[in-house]
Amino acid sequence: MPILPPGINETDFSAALGQFAETVGTNWVFTSDEDVALYRDAYSPFWGSDEEKLASAAVAPESVEEVQQIVRIANRYRIPLYPISTGKNYGYGGSAPVHSGSVVVDLKRMNRVLEIDERNATCLVEPGVSYFDLYNAIQEKGAKLWIDCPDPGWGSPIGNALDHGLGYTIGHFRDHFGSHCGMEVVLPNSEVLRTGPGGIPGSKTWQQYQYAFGPQLDGIFTQSNFGIVTKMGFWLAPEPEAFREDTVAVYNHDDLIPLVDVTSYLTNSSISNGLPGLGSPLLRADSDPEHIALLQTSDRPALERYGREKNIPYWTCNIKTYGPKEVINAQWAHAREKFASSIPGATFTEGEKLEFPLTYEQGEEYQQGRIAGGRVDFGIPNLSIFQIISRTPWNPDPKFGHYYFSPIIPKTGEAIFEASKVFTEAYDQLGLSRPPQGITSLPALYYQRSAMLLMALQVTRNVEVDRKNRTAFKELIKIAAEHGWGEYRTPPAFQDDVMNAYSFGNNALRRFNETIKDAIDPNGIISPGKSGIWPKNMRGA
């Protein structure tokens, strides 16, 4: 028998489950041990421990009306709910609730692509739609549109955008919440709210204009527990004509500073509209004993000399550009000139040049040798990213998943150096394993104005090791905050800690969130604890 929601007696819980079943049908209320176990987070850092966050049951509605009725029942019996979209947010929580004993509202059955508007390059989807589904729907329609997807294609465009997820294609499309347009939300009182022009009955511009009259509310429904999002619109990219990828290589440690600055200029000027990718061939150990020995030392000039002699760049940056063929060729020529004039000794390599649409074989060829990135650069969903943790020649003994420490830092070379120093020292203090040459977690540049570090901790399913890693993760959050850096997203295990790191003004942000929570969800039924926002009846004194 699964656990009960805290404070709820068996009689009331049973009555609520019965009414859920009347709403969605008995087949879509899950209460047996084996069915409820499917709502565990497969990548839980708590796996197998007393602290693991577990559901009490799950209910899977098929319509907005059913969601409304579930919310009414939950209010009647004070049952905590935890909505999920496709439940594939692995590394950031999966399908398990933040508050143990919650009933998961599994929205996977709400899987309709409601609209694809090719002329205006927009779509409207339900939460159970995956990136695979949306991609397939566009292909079946024959629309010349691209989606922007994260690495794992089985996720939900809605769920991903609500958790501030990111992708790989063109400029602002990579920011999935930033490129959404219009939401439908079932509020904690069971009313249905539509944001943006959707507030006008029969609106003709719901997916065309992001604002409406009055406050723009959409953001408060992300990483929050203020409602259940049941529809969301997104802007799509018209299929570009062509793509090119070029690499700039620099050979001195401090060249990273102008390398990032020029990359930022190109990004902010839309001269390069793809996702830039930083790398460091010189900090990657290879088979040469001299190279390996140098990486163990802190003799930077010697390492630089070695790199120059062997033609191994200290840093590289892939520059990707999408658009008409002649235009992107001219854009790269300008970018190359900017790098060359700013960084003496920079060298350049031309890479892929593709025209769209790609054949299946071209997509496969492009994926070869790539793990993060690959076909997602062209909005083609896939699951290749799981090679970073699955059994591979370089990882013959895989663990059971991972989760990311992912602070946002300034997009400058200086900040990258500082963060690398801070977190290298922190890893050593905390006893976390790291490469001998330092963390070298070069930031991802998904966002146009900031950089994101992504440092993975393994899920071992060894209760003691996972506990130690959780303790270390919480220390990393504190250390980051001491340097003015905060996480963009985090698993439920750390959401209180991350929210508390945003402590400006005596935790004004958290307290304001709590004020909203108390006002709109007085019974505290929607995702208690999500993002560190607890309802009044569950907050400490």
Binding site: W28, F30, E34, D35, A37, L38, Y39, A42, Y43, A58, A60, G87, Y90, G94, S95, D106, K108, R109, G128, F132, G153, W154, E364, E365, Q367, Q368, R370, I371, G374, N382, L383, S384, F386, Q387, I389, S390, R391, T392, P393, P396, P398, K399, F400, G401
Partner: protein, 108 residues
Amino acid sequence: MVHRIAGILVSLSLFVMGQALAQDVERGREVFQYWCAPCHDDGAARPGTVALQILYNGEKPALLEERTDLLPEYTKTIVRTGISIMPFYRKTEISDADLDALAAYLAP
């Protein structure tokens, strides 16, 4: 006469069962294509296929569709419990009926 009718009925029922089995297997192929192929088919950087290549080192095919030893109960258990980094699948994703069809499709 009775024997002829009985024979026709048996043939008919075998034909219907065969049709049903063919439909199950076709549904199983669809389930495989949708849920399993992104990791387990033959292509670039398919995590499941690469992992099984290393695990079996040629003793068994890395491609699940080429295996001849996947008993239905084994397939169903793996889908519902996960293995290594592969998570388990909920019934809103792969229903019990779809799981039966998938297991039949992959069965020897």
